[in-house]
């Protein structure tokens, strides 16, 4: 005779098993194979016959300037775009949290970049930033901000900034929505008390609002950062494999598919995986986050 707790556990696991089996097949197994292939001389398609070569691929990565460029691009991209998106998202959220009449309209407008597929937004901006016929150059020339057309995507000193600008456009709505959700659950009484006491709006924001929404903001930043660290679509569509903008994901795919270096590609992917894992662990423990829902 089984106890009630045992029976419950059996039921729970029988409900979980189908999902876990599929997850093991589509996530666990491919991840394991990628990590293992990173220690082999695999090409593309002959994975079964690949030979174990130890850390040679990792040594190859360490001595490849393009890899280090990709690491620097990815980290720079993540740091700058997530910072801008956080500040901008907060500003938009604060705007939406007021008694603005056109609030619904503004929220709808802000949702548009979020709804547009990444690839499509990259192509739209690719066209707008076109050096010869782009509307951005036309506008800036018209306003007198620049005196000749800029090669936003071709100039290696500008291209990473352009990529970041496009990502900011696409990623800010997410930050704005999550910040807004956090702002809307704050108790109104605090603000009324502050107003009665005559505390300035700026002071209220930094000393009351920000500390209260900090945990929610932290989670949003974590998610955006993880997204940014694995960035592929925006960069690949805007500037292709160009080393001046290539991220770690772009580098890894180029090794695997274009150079048919499965081993190197897997090693690069594994390195990115480790960076993401370490980053996530640090943020979650440092912020003492309880990432909701699941863990309750």
């Amino acid at each position: 005779m089984r106890t009630l707790a045992q029976r419950r556990a059996i039921t729970a696991w029988s409900f979980l098993t189908p999902m876990l089996v599929v997850l093991a097949l589509v996530a666990g197994w491919p991840l394991l194979r990628t990590i293992l292939l990173g220690f082999t001389d695999a090409g593309l398609g002959d994975f079964g016959e690949s030979q174990f070569i130890g850390l040679a691929n990792y040594r190859g990565l360490a001595s490849d300037p393009y890899w280090w460029r990709a690491v620097a691009n990815t980290l720079g991209f993540t740091l700058i775009s997530v910072s801008i998106e956080t500040v901008l998202g907060l500003i938009i959220a604060l705007t939406l949290n007021t008694h603005l009449k056109a609030r619904g309209l503004v929220r709808a407008a802000v949702l548009i970049p979020w709804a547009i597929p990444t690839v499509v937004s990259a192509r739209m901006w690719g066209w707008m930033l076109n050096d010869l016929y782009g509307v951005v150059n036309a506008m800036l020339l018209g306003l007198g901000v620049i005196d000749r057309p800029w090669a936003w995507l071709a100039d290696p000193t500008l291209s990473i900034a352009s990529v970041i600008a496009v990502d900011v456009w696409k990623g800010t709505p997410f930050m704005a929505l999550l910040s807004l959700a956090a702002l809307q659950v704050l108790p109104r009484e605090i603000y009324e008390a502050a107003r009665v006491d005559g505390v300035s709006a700026v002071k209220v924001f930094f000393q009351v609002t920000l500390p209260l929404i900090r945990p929610a903001l932290f989670v949003a930043i974590l998610f955006r950062s993880l997204d940014a660290l694995r960035v592929f679509d925006i960069i690949y569509v805007l500037t292709g494999d160009n080393p001046s903008t290539a991220s770690m994901s772009v580098y890894a795919r180029q090794q695997l598919i274009d150079f048919q270096q499965g081993g190197m590609g897997s090693a690069a992917a594994t390195a990115l995986f480790l960076i993401v894992a370490v980053f996530a662990t640090i943020v979650v423990t440092a912020g003492r986050l309880r990432i909701g829902g699941v863990v309750r």
Binding site: M19, F47, P117, M124, G293
Partner: protein, 274 residues
């Protein structure tokens, strides 16, 4: 001073709206221009034409690409929702040992980079003979939609009141019956929101679709749009690219605007708890 502040505030709002909306507006305008008109920065086209739209469907299998994307996204979403609904019932409503560990695994999978499974998935798809097929993409896309759906549905499930299932348990109904008869009806709005977000994830997926398909006929929309290039590869047909962009984006925007509130609740339900 107060009036200046108001004006500055409305300017800010106007700028936010302009910044968010203009690129899509510009895509629409550009898609209606052809020839040399495309290379002028007219904010309103002097004369509109649907030439780009016609060319898109006549000169490449764009209709087929749309159908591919729809099939992949719908099947992936259906599988994910089915598996996630049962799993989230266990995770959200039952106390058992190992629950935290399972939650942690699901969360980790939803966070890790797609590229980390690319080689292994390539091998899996090759071995199973699914290379250059929609089934291969459905299999691969599950890694995005399944953990996400499970996670969001678990959050929704956990928020429901305890009394909901108590009567059913006392009546001695089996767990599967409780799920289908008690929870699924109550969860309908949550399932719609989660399903929509999973659909968008699969519809927009690019890296797998780019890597695991070869022929133009098996491409999904994002890949087709990313790879549109002119004859001989000299002149990029921007008008046609913008037409394609408008076609795939318009329904998404309509959908998102119509279901604004639900999407926002879906995005924030599981995400944020301080």
């Amino acid at each position: 001073m107060k009036i200046l502040g108001r004006i500055a505030f409305y300017l800010l709002v106007a700028f936010i709206v302009f910044y968010a909306v203009f690129p899509f507006y510009w895509a629409i305008v550009s898609s209606l221009k052809t020839g040399s008109a495309l290379f002028t920065a007219d904010l309103i086209p002097a004369s509109s034409t649907f030439e780009n739209y016609v060319a898109l469907f006549r000169e490449q299998p764009f209709a087929r690409n749309i159908l591919n994307s729809a099939i992949v996204a719908i099947v992936t979403t259906a599988i994910s929702l089915g598996l996630a609904a049962t799993a989230s019932y266990a995770l959200g409503r039952m106390a058992f040992r190992g629950r935290t560990a399972v939650s942690f695994v699901i969360l980790s999978v939803s966070m890790f980079p797609q590229i980390a499974v690319l080689t292994g998935m390539f091998e899996l798809i090759q071995v199973t003979g699914l290379y250059d097929s929609l089934s291969g993409l459905i299999l691969a896309d599950l890694i995005l939609t399944l953990p996400f759906s499970t996670w969001v549905l678990t959050a929704f499930m956990g928020d429901l009141p305890r009394e909901l299932e108590e009567a059913a348990i006392i009546d001695g109904a089996p767990p599967l019956r409780i799920l289908t008869d008690v929870f699924i009806p109550v969860m309908a709005p949550a399932l719609v929101a989660t399903g929509l977000l999973a659909f968008i994830l699969a519809w927009n997926e690019f890296l797998f679709a780019l890597t695991f398909t070869l022929s133009e006929e098996q491409r999904t929309v994002p890949v087709a749009i990313a790879l549109i290039s002119g004859a001989g590869g000299y002149e990029i047909p921007w008008g046609r690219i913008m037409a394609a962009s408008v076609i795939v984006t318009a329904p998404l925007i309509v959908l998102v605007l119509a279901l604004q509130r639900r999407i926002v609740s879906g995005l924030t339900a599981g995400a944020v708890k301080g």
